[in-house]
Symmetry: none
Subunit: 350 residues, 2 copies
Amino acid sequence: MRNLLEIQKQLLPDLMETLKRRYTILHQIMLSDIIGRRTLAASLDMTERVLRAETDLLKSQGLIEIESVGMRISDAGRRLLDLLEPAAKSLFGLDELEEKIRSTYGLSKVIVVPGDCETSPFTKRELGRAGSKALLGVLRPDDIVAVTGGSTLAEMADQLTTLLPLSYKNAWFVPARGGLGESMEIQANTIASTMAKRVGANYRLLHVPDLLSEDAYQSLALDSNIGEIVNIIRSSRIIVHGIGEAFEMTRRRKLDESTVSEIQGEGAVAESFGYYFNEDGKIVHTMLRMGMRLEDIMRTEVVIGIAGGKGKATAIHAMLRFGQENILVTDEAAAQEIGRRIDMEVQSSL
Amino acid sequence: MRNLLEIQKQLLPDLMETLKRRYTILHQIMLSDIIGRRTLAASLDMTERVLRAETDLLKSQGLIEIESVGMRISDAGRRLLDLLEPAAKSLFGLDELEEKIRSTYGLSKVIVVPGDCETSPFTKRELGRAGSKALLGVLRPDDIVAVTGGSTLAEMADQLTTLLPLSYKNAWFVPARGGLGESMEIQANTIASTMAKRVGANYRLLHVPDLLSEDAYQSLALDSNIGEIVNIIRSSRIIVHGIGEAFEMTRRRKLDESTVSEIQGEGAVAESFGYYFNEDGKIVHTMLRMGMRLEDIMRTEVVIGIAGGKGKATAIHAMLRFGQENILVTDEAAAQEIGRRIDMEVQSSL
DNA sequence: AGTTCATGGTCTTAAAATGTCCCGGGTTAA
DNA sequence: TTAACCCGGGACATTTTAAGACCATGAACT
């Protein structure tokens, strides 16, 4: 109950601060699996000595275990974090931010994790955890899930774990599109297969390059194997996609200079599923490609967007305006920025 | 949510201590109406200086007002205490104690107030407050309530206040028995009238001595006025009774030496409604008297027992074993002791 | 085998908490 | 009216605690 905290704040004015601090420490320890005092102090921007006081306390409460190799969260600590998570949201004021974004863009759910992906790799991991939690929250035993590529999605795949012994052996994971010329780990194909393995589901891969010439597209479309998997992709009930900053994506796709400047000229700020969007969420550029098409996306029941970092706020905002998202998973830095933009819009519309 | 507090106990054990301390201080200030720093420090067993640090904080939070005559609780402070009360129960571990006693003896409700009646007059006042709260919780507009005498009941009568504008003008308060040879303030008659006045209800008095000879009993029973009020008493839906230590009651009743030794020889430890009970809750001695009889008590819908102090634990325990209580209101000292006895019983039954 | 990073111990210093006493003023009871 | 009493608040020495800095030792990894 939110009330109780408000009441206690009167008698314990510094309650929030301490609670936040200890929660953050415990949380960080959990994310790090095992971590030393000095490293942890540096990553939390505390002096070693005060951190030590806190970890001693956490240890005496049985929330962490201290070994010669470092500190590790205990089962009790893990349980505590789980229980505290909703409260922590309100502690950091993230619940309000979530609701603001959710209601403004009519989403069914918004999840904001504390921190900034760009600054801390742990926040990125947390984003992945939150994303997989969100996916598991809507995943049914015989769903088809399409996923895109990207480092955030890769992190999410790593964090995906089924706690319940629910069987997903009739579910399918497929890539939403073909491969980018990027490292193996963050390709949609890899991510689809990782996710599938982690929840005990099946997967199909799409072995075609993402960027296609007209000729190549036509000939591949006739291939029956490819046709089959593309049909599966297009009938997905759930799509999980990263959100990219437009310019960076052109670079990662190694587009030629003229195309890049063309896309930029059209005011593109965001990219997802192979489409480029301007600030207003309008599609300004479409890449010829295999896999999900616009009409498939619009038909998809659950669209989960996942991205974080202040620098991606513009891109995320554009995707929200596009209006096809159902669930957004982002971080505090991006959410704050999006919140500011919402405020500005409201103000200018008065 | 109960959960949150449990979580806090793990993550903020030190803050919970100060929360307890500040709650106790604020609570004591409320009970004292107005009190000076030194007096308060003495009654809470703290040094003046540490108390001062706390009261300064309470003042800065606007929970108390400091005047030249002493400290007084503010409206905000009063509100805070009310809101925090259920949480405080769990903070002090009293909720578990309540539940333990409740379930062991099949009561519908057990209320344990912090402290020890014998040590602190404030705890006695608190016991009275809790008792009147419990009564108001079950009191219906046209109830008949029988009350016994005793200092605890007197305190309860003083603390009885109806917050709601509920009308009890059709309710009746009656004494459960006649007068003891004691001071006016703690006689059942006085208490019944005080309670009735405080909630705007009616009252009838029973003007007969509690201890009667056979002859006197017979002749009084024929009196129509007395017969009428006795009938009202016997049809009560609620009875609120104190619980006395057997030996002390024989003294207060000024019984002759032979009767006293007789009662003692029978192993009596508790007294209530004019009956003496042994440790097992069996009635071992009955006084000839007007008013409530055993069969009336058994028929009564709501029996509220109220008593506190470690020295009364044996007596309270005996009454619980008697098995007619529905609601017990006691203090921490007595409840702890009763809890210990329950543990011993459980252990010996294994 | 050497390096690195971990915990846990210790010493010093700064700061906060505490114990103690006192003062002027208002309240109360005689 | 007066005197005793208790009040809050100021002052200050002292104790306790928190914090910073460093080091010893040991496990793990290269």
